[in-house]
């Protein structure tokens, strides 16, 4: 709690604090913004707008999707900041929902979110062999006429390559996450500035090219005539551009949410944030606005050189292996061919690989915090959260997350069953949104379901719009956004990432296993220890 500043006039002080009060200053907004940007990711989310949105929903506007999504995400961020302000502790969403709505439902939702988060961390790691390494080695192979580098690029993006290199990267992520926290945050700090540097280079490469330079640059590296034939090729393979830009933009909001996913992650460790109500909201909003600006500027510079229809075609071909062409729908590649400077390409590729590891680390970090909250509530064995005495890290928890991430890598590789990186991430958005209904409904109804707690909450939580609690209004807008994303998944299934009966069965299965874990843990604690886990979730009236 911060001591208020006292004016100098006698009799004008607002608070008389004891000298030994222990009041300390709070973390700044910049710190919270940095983590949000890391989790949004300047690398993976830096690729998605130009590589997927346009082609997965042909006819959508990249800038439109980014902007409309960002606006709705501001409401979603406000909702989650309020969740963190109301329950400033680990896994604030699960903690709030379990205390306000339903403990078993809140746990099952949290359980599902963590498992899918770990899996999608794996799919994000899989981007390294799928995109980052091939971009670097293919560019080098072409520029220096080295066929073996081009072959390596092909192998890296193959199922085997994704599995092997992805596993190596998962091991690296695991080993970095068991290091002391100080070391981990240094690693994240370096990644933040590397990511910004990479974007400066991309802006330079795109911004300094003449408006008609792209077709020739493309043909130089991808083959004569390749540029001209791209749109027709995509249409031959099934691309149909929906002329209704507005509808396609709305359809693309699910990907827009995925682009910005991460701004609200600090809510999962709200217990470590001082003055949570200010820090969480300003941090999440600023990380949203900063990344929106970065990605929109990238879109403006790219669309100065290449029409949106062509970008859509290349993106579509990237999701259509049956087309039998090497598609390179990556902004890093577009920039590299315009300005094929080996040092610049190398820096961008290194930054991309490095920040993709950072991104996986943030997922591992917040998953471990949520797992800690479960252990705190005695829902999972304490041994899972054992802290190594020297490394000061929860090794077993991180190992479990790593194993699940490896499943995500295998899924993304398509090695053992039909899967894909993009499919995993689109599925994650659908599944994450479904699980979010529980905490978002909880906070929306919080003023009415727990009026005593609401009255004691911070001023930010108790803000009103007229006579209606503001969080109820914002929560309803957030719910509407989430409902649309679920509906859009069925009405406008994304190319390569639609929701089918199997995926729904997986979702249901995870929720059911979460419920089983909850009730099993309760029965065990009651019989062995005389402790009812439900006590953790009960209100206590003051005497």
């Amino acid at each position: 709690m911060t001591e208020m500043v006292a004016p100098a006039e006698s009799g004008e002080r607002k608070l008389y604090a004891r000298k030994t009060s222990g009041l300390i200053r709070t973390i700044g907004v910049f710190g919270a913004m940095v983590f949000g940007v890391h989790c949004i990711s300047l690398s993976s989310s830096g690729l998605i707008p130009y590589s997927w949105i346009a082609g997965v929903w042909p006819g959508s506007s990249i800038i439109g999707v980014l902007t409309v999504a960002a606006v709705f995400c501001l409401f979603h961020a406000y909702t989650y900041a309020t969740i963190g302000a109301t329950m400033p502790r680990s896994a604030a969403d699960y903690t709030l929902a379990s205390r306000v709505l339903s403990p078993p439902l809140a746990f099952a939702a949290s359980w599902t979110l963590v498992i899918f988060s770990a899996m999608v961390a794996g799919s994000l790691i899989a981007w390294i062999p799928l995109v980052a390494l091939p971009t670097l080695t293919r560019s080098m192979g072409i520029i220096f006429s080295n066929p073996s580098l081009v072959s390596f690029a092909d192998w890296s993006a193959s199922s085997t390559g994704i599995f092997v290199i992805g596993t190596i990267c998962a091991v690296i992520t695991f080993l970095t996450m068991i290091l002391p926290t100080r070391t981990i945050v240094r690693i994240l700090e370096v990644g933040f500035f590397l990511g910004l540097l990479a974007w400066v280079i991309l802006y330079f490469q795109l911004g300094t090219a003449s408006p008609d330079a792209f077709p020739a640059a493309w043909d130089r590296f991808m083959g004569a005539g390749s540029y001209e034939g791209r749109i027709a090729l995509a249409q031959q393979n099934g691309m149909v551009i929906n002329p209704n830009v507005a509808i396609m933009t709305l359809a693309g909001l699910i990907m827009g949410f995925w682009v910005f996913y991460g701004y609200y992650i600090p809510t999962f460790f709200a217990g470590e944030v001082k003055q949570a109500e200010t820090t969480l909201l300003t941090g999440s909003w600023s990380s949203l606005i900063v990344t929106w600006a970065i990605f929109v500027l990238g879109a403006l510079l790219l669309q100065r050189l290449v029409p949106l229809e062509w970008i859509a075609a290349e993106s579509f071909l990237g999701q259509t292996p049956a087309a039998g062409v090497t598609a390179m729908p990556w902004i890093t590649f577009y920039a590299a061919i315009l300005s094929p400077s080996f040092p610049l390409v190398l820096i961008v590729a290194i930054a991309w690989i490095y920040t993709l590891i950072n991104l996986a680390q943030t997922y591992f970090f917040y998953c471990s915090r949520i797992i800690f909250a479960w252990s705190f509530d005695r829902l999972i064995p304490e041994a899972v959260c054992w802290i190594h005495p020297t490394l000061r890290s929860p090794i077993w928890a991180i190992l479990i997350i790593s194993v699940v991430a490896e499943v995500g890598i295998i899924d993304s590789s398509g090695l053992l069953w039909a899967g894909s990186v993009m499919g995993a991430q689109l599925n994650f958005v659908f599944f994450a949104v479904v699980t979010m209904f529980v905490p978002v409904i909880a906070i929306t109804l919080f003023p009415y379901l727990k009026p005593d707690l609401y009255q004691n909450a911070s001023a930010m939580v108790r803000r009103k719009l007229g006579s209606v609690p503001l969080i109820t209004v914002v929560g309803c807008i957030t719910l509407a956004y989430m409902v649309w994303m679920v509906i859009a998944s069925f009405l406008y299934p994304a190319v390569g990432g639609g929701i089918n009966a199997t995926k729904l069965a997986v979702l249901a299965g995870l929720i059911i296993t979460g419920l089983a874990v909850f009730y099993g843990a309760r029965a065990y604690r009651l019989s062995r220890e005389g402790i009812d886990i439900n006590w953790t979730f009960q209100s206590v009236p003051p005497v």
Partner: protein, 317 residues
């Protein structure tokens, strides 16, 4: 034998609602004994300045409050008390006098703290004595020694600091309120060597340490129960890459004492951000944490059998 259920909490820091919830929890969870582990007094007074005509002016968490009716004033007094502060109603000239005289300010603080503790003890006695439940209410490093007197004189409320009590037929309770030195040099902060001596004296009171409960305000060093944000020389939180850096700040003397005596259970507070439990040898060590300012009671429910801790859970109510 049967089971003894302990309800433990600490670091109320003057929060009226937290303490009242603590008493309510005792009845809700059918506790046999209540233990409070220290830091019971608030950190600040909020002046509520009379503006004349029944109107008042105050500031709480950066927001101006202007109650103009007895009901509004009562509501503000309650809100201030619930977050652990002491509301004091002053005429404008009184406020000026108080701010000009540091000694007078200190005396007023002390009076408010003692008054609230005594009210709490009276409420506890009224609530618990009909049920035969005893409250062991120990101050902490942040509490002045003068509040100890406010805990005396009750039949069902006791101060276990440097004293031994029988929790039941099988378990003893002893307490140590001091802590190792903090940056704020609180009332009961002391050097590790002095703390070690006090711990030895407390252990010496026990007849069967292996079945005892020790309530020691400061947690053992590097136990996971003593981790808090690292501060720089300006008492500002250190952060890197968007992360708050954390460090252990518990007492090594406490750790050594637990390793030597190996009581059944130790109860700690002091570090609000580190609720949880750990084992040092056979001893279960618990820190309930604290979120008093948010009106949330953080407590531990611990079931004891003769020679073991049967089970425990941490609650946030």
């Amino acid at each position: 034998m049967g089971m003894t259920r302990i309800l433990y909490a600490s670091d109320f820091h003057g929060s009226e609602v937290a303490f009242r919830k603590f008493l309510g929890a005792a009845l809700q969870y059918k506790a046999d004994a209540l233990v409070v582990g220290g830091d019971v007094t608030g950190k600040a007074m909020i002046p509520i300045k009379h503006q004349g005509g029944g109107r008042y002016d105050a500031h709480l968490f950066g927001r101006r409050e202007t109650p103009s009716s007895p009901e509004e004033l009562a509501g503000l007094l309650k809100t201030i008390s619930n977050v652990g502060f002491y509301p004091i109603i002053l005429e404008p000239e009184e406020a000026g006098e108080l701010e000009a005289d540091e000694h007078k300010m200190g005396q007023r603080f002390e009076r408010e703290m003692i008054e609230r503790v005594r009210l709490w003890m009276t409420l506890a006695e009224e609530t618990l004595s009909p049920k035969g439940i005893h409250l062991y209410f120990m101050p902490g490093n942040d509490d002045l020694y003068s509040i100890d007197a406010a805990i005396e004189g009750f039949s069902h409320v006791h101060n276990p600091d440097a004293r031994r009590f029988a929790l039941d037929d099988d378990h003893e309770l002893v307490g140590v309120s001091q802590a190792n030195m903090t940056p704020w040099k609180c009332a009961r902060d002391t050097e590790e060597s002095e703390l070690a001596a006090r711990l030895d004296q407390a252990v010496a009171l026990l007849q069967a340490p292996e079945r005892s409960v020790m309530v020691i305000h400061v947690p053992p060093f590097d136990s996971g129960l003593d981790v808090c944000p690292e501060l720089d020389e300006n008492l500002k939180i250190v952060h890197r890459g968007g992360q708050v850096l954390m460090k252990p700040v518990g007492s090594s003397a406490v750790r050594v004492a637990i390793e030597k005596a190996q009581p059944l259970l130790t109860l700690h507070g002091h570090i609000h951000e580190s609720p949880g439990h750990t084992r040092i040898g056979r001893t279960l060590c618990v820190n309930a944490g604290s979120e008093y300012a948010e009106g949330i009671l953080k407590a531990a429910i611990i079931n004891l059998e003769r020679d073991r801790v049967k089970g425990h859970v941490l609650i946030s109510a």
